[in-house]
Amino acid sequence: AQSVTQLDSHVSVSEGTPVLLRCNYSSSYSPSLFWYVQHPNKGLQLLLKYTSAATLVKGINGFEAEFKKSETSFHLTKPSAHMSDAAEYFCVVARSGGSYIPTFGRGTSLIVHP
């Protein structure tokens, strides 16, 4: 069994300030973890993924996430927000290896103020 909780439905930041989007997961298996981004009226795009290699994962557009097994967390961060980062972000957990069905969080809407 697996589940994922995105702790904030909305996060509001000013341009140039740090971004933190929080994600906690549970999984009976060794998990693969993903963050996807969805800009308005677009499909989802992979930001980054953790698949049991390095615990600090770097993604596109300056985002990174750290896998913390002891805290069952995979929070997404960016040092400095840009207006173009405004979007919906989804945390996803899946079983590593073999056939799998990923489980999506409910999403966090990132709002960036000028």
Binding site: G43, L44, P102
Partner: protein, 118 residues
């Protein structure tokens, strides 16, 4: 580049109509998925398929069926559309197992079809 295409971006249908949503991927992926996306609920899995003619129910299969006659094409069918099926529908595909360093387990999404049932 992996490409997942969906037959329509916007669709308006009437209650009781039979609706077909088509999805095609060009990367020879084994897995294909249909999700619906509603505000505050994230993505919910309707059906997925891991091979031709194979299908598995997801979390919300009621009122939907699927067809996968060819590896690259996965169709979602609303047998008798209802207003509560008004939603954004997203198709995705992924590789089932590692192959030559290609992305594995990562899903690739189409642009979505916004369906309105009147």
């Amino acid at each position: 580049d992996v490409k997942v295409t969906q037959s329509s971006r916007y669709l308006v249908k009437r209650t009781g109509e039979k609706v077909f949503l088509e999805c095609v991927q060009d990367m020879d992926h084994e897995n294909m998925f249909w999700y619906r996306q509603d505000p505050g609920l994230g993505l919910r899995l309707i059906y997925f398929s891991y091979d031709v003619k194979m299908k598995e129910k997801g979390d919300i299969p009621e009122g939907y069926s699927v067809s996968r006659e060819k590896k690259e094409r996965f169709s979602l069918i609303l047998e008798s559309a209802s207003t509560n099926q008004t939603s954004m529908y997203l198709c995705a595909s992924s590789r089932l197992r590692p192959s030559g360093g290609a992305p594995y387990n990562e899903q690739f999404f189409g642009p979505g079809t916004r369906l309105t049932v009147l």
